[in-house]
Amino acid sequence: MASEELFYATIRDVGARLRRRAISPVELTRAHLERIERLDPKLHAFVTVTADRALADAKGAEAALGRGDISSPLLGIPIGYKDIYATRGILTTGGSALLADWIPDEDSTCVTRLQRAGAVMLGKLITHEFAFGIQFPGHRYPPARNPWDLERMPGGSSSGSGAALAAGMAFGALGSDTGGSIRGPASFCGIAGLKPTYGRCSRTGVLTLSWTLDHTGPMARTVEDCAYLLQALAGYDATDPASSREPVPDYVAPLGRGVRGLRVGVVREYFFEGIDPEVEKAFEQALATLRQLGASVEDVQIASIQSSGAFMAILLAEAFAYHERDLRERPELFGELLRERMLAGALITGSEYVQAQRLRARLQSDMGAALKRVDVLATPTSPKPAPTFATVYDPEYGFPRSNTGPFNMTGLPALAMPCGFTASGLPISIQITGRPFDETTVLRVGHTYEQATDWHKRHPAL
């Protein structure tokens, strides 16, 4: 059996080992498949393990390396895809009984780009049902469990992606983020996750939850690994109407430039309401670290931040619009929780939807004004650590307040990364948000902080 150290290596480190032939892609892939076979029965991160495909990809990478091809840092790197990304010839369920037999004819653009970069497809990672509904007991697909505490949620909806990464079962993963579905699991699982700017990464071939809020993006154990994945993912896609033609910069090279002289704005209003004291303490310590590293830290105001809750009105209305036919014709194929959430979207009036979009425009303007004064915003990713399944299964448990949704409203790039642990050993996360298409600065701040701390080096006992 390969060592734990190998499974928790970074993409850069393991890539270097692959390129100097210290380990082969096939050996690396076999080791991961064995680890998945050993650990996943208790974590449920994978819906489908594509062992044959993984080994075929790995053999292809081995041949490429044999030809001296070292052009891609992802060549031979085993990763997983959230199961709302279409994969040609491979079951894509969306975590839903509705799609229990769907085998797409095409890959999603993001999958195509990562495969073209030489990544090895380990399999499909469980998602909350249609990226919105937690799987309750008895659901066709059991929910992923948090590797730090199996009785707790790994977050969602990219739950399998977060669990697989924290458990060392993949080096990277695709997530999607409509209200925090990349950053929430990153927060609860102690990993890094980036929601890029709206339009930066293609949504083509990804199941829709809410057209104007959906984002695709990378998840990994380090900020640098997110940068490697983003480099392969980012760029214009003519098949996605929201795709941007903004040029793609080098995301990796500037990571080492530090934060000296950068201005970090802390938004106190809204993001600290109901915050857990341990989360607040870890966040303040992270700010102190950024100051020590040379950044200036100041409080900033976003006048309309309290209107962020309107993002749920947009999400509900758009989700109902997308799923209405199935909700009316085959409601029994939706999980109960998801069905009631989506039906709630039918109760939003046209006027309310329009006003929510107008509030969104105002929030976008106000955040833009704040980002004229500072380079990035910093907030806690989640005001509380991961809840237990028992908590969320309580019939009275509502939809939690979101520290991530405001940045889906505004489309700004937002990174979640570890900044501490609770006394009981649960990860705590900081969220760093930047200007439109300035993922470079967001990643640079995150990487600099990460290099000065060791939170990302802690791993759950499994």
């Binding site: 700017t197 109960e336 039918a346 425009a361 833009g368 980002l371 489309g411 298409f437």
Partner: protein, 64 residues
Amino acid sequence: MTLEELRNRMKAARVEIAENRLEVVRRLLTDALRPIQAMDSRAHRPLEPAVTFDAVRSRGDRGQ
């Protein structure tokens, strides 16, 4: 939002939600609509409902 208003909206939208889940849905919608209902649209300068994310145009508007 009251439960009565919720039921009226369900009737108008032709959807059914289990009686024992109405309170949870009421709370979800109340939270989502609170900022909208607090907004006096006449009090704001003209705001378009269309949201754009165009990078070039955004630079002037959003601080780059």
